[in-house]
Symmetry: C2
């Protein structure tokens, strides 16, 4: 169980197979985010149809609603949300530190108030692992503290505490059918990132996550941190870059040896009418699409692009029809999943590095809204 086999390499980029109790993951992989036990506006059938393999869900949200004990009583998260493939849960740390209005951190854990009803709750490493064991995902995360990267002293304190919490998370884990990942922190400080990578790599975990990036630092800083961290990690464990990202970020991450990604971006953009397209990100509400008989992306194989015109999707958006969110979510997720399939093909074929400039030129457009629209 949790065997990770690297099947091909191009410099640091690699393909692999990560074996879980709910099937094999082909890496590099992009995981759609299903915060509240649902990838917003999509059925599990629609997720399967776009070849999604790994789905992420959020411990903080599910703990508050419907409650991890209820999920456990209903047979666990796979059965509850009817996703038969692998699931990953985060530790709740990131949400507690970023979502909760008031929170108090001490050595043992964090006390915070619910964003739903203001009630007081407490997470510790042991509590986070206990919740994640109730939820029953295939991949679970050590409880960590994500610090402000601009505060050097706080970053040091948070990182040291994250290391102690990672050790406690490893000790707290009881289920053999869940793969625990430790989380590398250290802000944008090269020495701290290296120290954190070495510490987390030394623990008895099935994989390693890199946290605290994509939280306000520059792209160059993110790449610099990956260039420091990845070479210090073992080859035989999957590497997960948390909360990343844009198509460009995925290409740059794979190039630097990352195996797993997740991000709310494709579904959040979709709900705001923004679609990944060859000519750049499209605002489908724009009047220029009113009579556009093309699909969002003529090269895309998703249900939305096989079936509907931009004109129809624009009509749905203008008419406030929720189906628009479903259709654009299907496309945006498929676009990133298809990108990962394409990258895996290049790595397996040994042509990844030579494809990177073209890929970045093609997808760099999609970092922001197409200015011509």
């Amino acid at each position: 169980m949790f065997d990770f086999t690297v099947t091909a390499r191009n410099n640091r980029a690699r393909t692999g197979i990560f074996t879980t109790c709910h099937g094999e993951l082909q890496t590099p992989v992009f995981a759609p985010v299903g915060t509240q036990a649902t990838v917003k506006m999509l059925t599990p059938e629609q997720l399967k149809d776009i070849n999604a393999s790994l789905v992420l869900s959020n411990t903080y949200h599910l703990y508050l609603r419907p409650g991890d004990e209820l999920v456990s009583d209903m047979g666990g998260l796979h059965k509850f949300m009817q996703w038969s493939g692998p699931i990953l849960t985060d530790s709740g740390g990131f949400q507690v530190f970023s979502l909760a209005q008031t929170r108090k951190i001490d050595e043992d854990g964090v006390t915070f108030k619910s964003h739903i009803d203001g009630s007081t709750h407490r997470f510790t490493p042991e509590k986070s692992i206990g919740i994640q064991e109730n939820l029953g995902a295939d991949i679970i995360m050590a409880f960590d503290e994500c610090s402000d990267p601009n505060d050097h002293n706080y970053t040091r304190r948070a990182m040291d505490r994250t290391h102690r919490w990672a050790e406690r998370s490893v000790r707290a884990k009881t289920r053999a059918d869940q793969a625990l990942f430790g989380i590398v922190q250290g802000g944008v400080n090269p020495e701290m990132r290296a120290e954190s990578a070495e510490f987390i790599a030394s623990l008895d975990t099935s994989g390693i996550a890199i946290g605290g990036l994509s939280v306000g630092e520059t792209k160059d800083e993110m790449h610099a941190m990956l260039d420091i961290v990845v070479p210090l990690l073992p080859e035989d464990k999957p590497r997960y870059l948390m909360g990343v990202g844009t198509p460009e970020d995925l290409i740059n991450g794979v190039r630097r040896g990352i195996d797993i990604f997740d991000c709310v971006l494709p579904t959040r953009l979709a709900r705001h009418h923004s679609a990944f397209a060859p000519e750049g990100r499209l605002n489908l509400m724009n009047a220029s699409f009113a009579r556009d008989a093309r699909p969002i992306d003529e090269t895309c194989d998703c249900y939305t692009c096989r079936t509907f015109t931009r004109a129809y999707i624009r009509h749905l958006i203008v008419a406030n029809e929720l189906l628009a969110g479903t259709l654009v979510s299907i496309h945006n997720l498929r676009a990133l999943i298809r990108l990962m399939e394409e990258l895996r093909g290049y790595i397996a074929g040994g042509t990844f590095e030579e494809q990177v400039p073209g890929l970045l030129a093609r997808w760099g457009n999609n970092a922001k809204r197409n200015s011509s629209r």
Copy 2:
């Protein structure tokens, strides 16, 4: 084209096959409503999956947004919304009379203000037919005036005008691939209903609609009007009871010789968390469902009931996840479509009349919210 063949009879109840350019309709049939060229929150694939055959769309809404000329330029409504089966459009009359804040009726037509932007528009019988020809549905409606059933003199004036407008609608029609239905009016007045039925039956149309019911009259009044109107209609034309209804209404309508129904009820209820179930209409937000591992309806064959628990759907509702609306819409529509399949089977087997008391007892529950919940 537009051949209607009655295939079995039980007293007034009957099964039939209505042939359109987009396939055969097995009647009696319930049509989901796709007001703005989309059955709210469902893909055409999901509609096919619940065995929907006829879909209704609204002329008033599509005329205003995206515009019937745009729909025509995009290849017509079937291609625009990607529904390859039969489509029915109403005449816009009902919406103009009920939705528009200010409207002025004269002999020639109706001037009204858009509910979207307050702009002034005018519908005449010729205009309504022209819009419906641009949209390109298989079944189109004569332009009619739906009066307040409590105002005898207005009902008479509106009915007489509806008859003149029906004659103008027949003359205005140019497309051979569309079946035009005239609309019987006359409020809840037996003499006027009979007069209207005879007049509309005398016109050269492919079918006959019964309008102005389910607009505030009692169930007994609706049944009395159907008992007067239906025997005056030709046997060889399909009969469409507009805007009806509840499961109970469908059973009572089929019993009185109706072939086609449509109603927003199943999808509107679904968006308000209300589901058809054997024990009565369920408010799925209720805390009693928090750990209910059963599907909405154990006897139902829809994707929602085959896949998800009440507990999961309740979680989605409580967490404001839009997927709940999609899942409950699938179930509620399938429940009515399955009811019609069941009724067709009883009529074909000659047991319809003996099944009616049991059907009404089973479905009478669903006329209103289950009081025990």
